[in-house]
Amino acid sequence: MQLTHLRSYARPTDLDSAVDLLREGGRGTRLMAGGSDLVLSGSNEITGLVDLGGLDLDYVEERDGAAAIGAMTTLTDLLESPVAAAYLDGVVPEMLRQVGSRLLRNVATVGGNLVRKQPWSDLVPLFSALGASITLFDGEERTGSINDLYAEAAHLKGSILTEVVLPRQPAGAAAAFWKFTRSAVDVATLNCAALIQTEDGTCIRARIFVGATPRLAAAVPSAEAALVGTDLSAAAVAAAARAAADDVSTGDDLRATAAHRTRLVPVGVTRCLEDAKRRLEGAIP
């Protein structure tokens, strides 16, 4: 038995009840999304579960060019959704295909992945680069960026992540994702996501995130600055990659050494930017 101290399990059908159950449950009560991490944790501290599966939070909708994703959407459902396929040339399914195996993706959810905040999360760098907005509910709704979500960790405790919105991107925008991993289903040894926006052939905006360093994905402002104002030539891409190699701090863990990761950083940034450029070129008739 995995959760030996579990004494209560509830599956509310409205958000207010879910929040109440979470509060009343006290310290040992957790919200459960897909449950993969929670169940496998075998934690003795979990005495109560509030299952979010009854709240109709599994949907993927297009809203005026934006992709609105309910927190309980499984990674498989998002991967297979036509809305995700159409958003920025399918960069979201491209990332999701590299998350674990289909067996895991059939259980794990978008909201669960974001809240769990594993440093190797593949969703975090891409959704951060895309400028995702997160909606939290604790009796009232509030919306913020992924950064905001993680900044207020303490206040999260009474809140439910209900939705993620990938904003509508202007014409001339493209994104890409890259993951280096030891096997087809392992978590990232290093990952990278980039969003570029061009106007008349000039890059006017760039977002680059590198993660699993082994820390959680963070922006690389120097690499972004190396691209803005350029024509995204090979030289500009190389400058961005060099800046990232210099500025991204890496560490040792069981998957790789800091030195290995530092060698991977410019490769990941280069591949992301080249993929994004290819997508842009594909869009030009």
Partner: protein
């Protein structure tokens, strides 16, 4: 107690709250569902839950309330093997057999949504099923053959 449909039969199953679907299914006598790792890494415990292949070791039994579970015991129909089982046997994709139930589930999940997969798509679908014996080649062959069987084609 949870109400769960197992291999087409509605059951009322005793379960402790903290138990996984894997434990409950095996206690109900469905020994095809194998505990390979208990960490969600090997796929030996995979079953179909409302049509999707999932590792039953990471599913809390309580969350399966009102859902449909299919295990290998439920694949045979009227004395005939499911085409995925037949294809796996014909291709020689079974050695010790421990991973096989999970592989069948992943293969069935794939063909239910992609009836004409490429070899790469089959490999992607089976990525969560670890096999120590076969080297995977014949398992991939088997799923491709099952796709052809499902489409009603004869062997070329």
């Amino acid at each position: 107690m949870i109400a769960i449909t197992i291999n087409g039969a509605r059951c009322s199953v005793e379960t402790e709250l903290g138990e996984t679907l894997l434990e409950v299914l095996r206690r109900e006598g469905l020994k095809s569902v194998k505990p390979g790792c208990d960490t969600g890494d090997c796929g030996a415990c995979a079953v179909l839950l409302d049509g999707s292949a999932v590792d039953s070791c990471m599913v809390l039994a309580a969350t399966a309330e009102g859902k449909e579970v299919v295990t290998v015991e439920g694949l045979e129909h009227d004395g005939h093997l499911h085409l995925m089982q037949q294809a796996m046997v014909d291709a020689g994709g079974v050695q010790c057999g421990f991973c096989t139930p999970g592989v069948l589930m992943s293969g069935i999940d794939l063909l239910s949504r992609n009836p004409d997969p490429s070899e790469d798509e089959v490999k992607e679908a089976l990525a969560g099923n670890l096999c120590r014996c076969t080297g995977y080649v014949k398992q991939v062959d088997a799923v491709l053959a099952a796709a052809r069987l499902q489409a009603g084609e004869t062997d070329a």
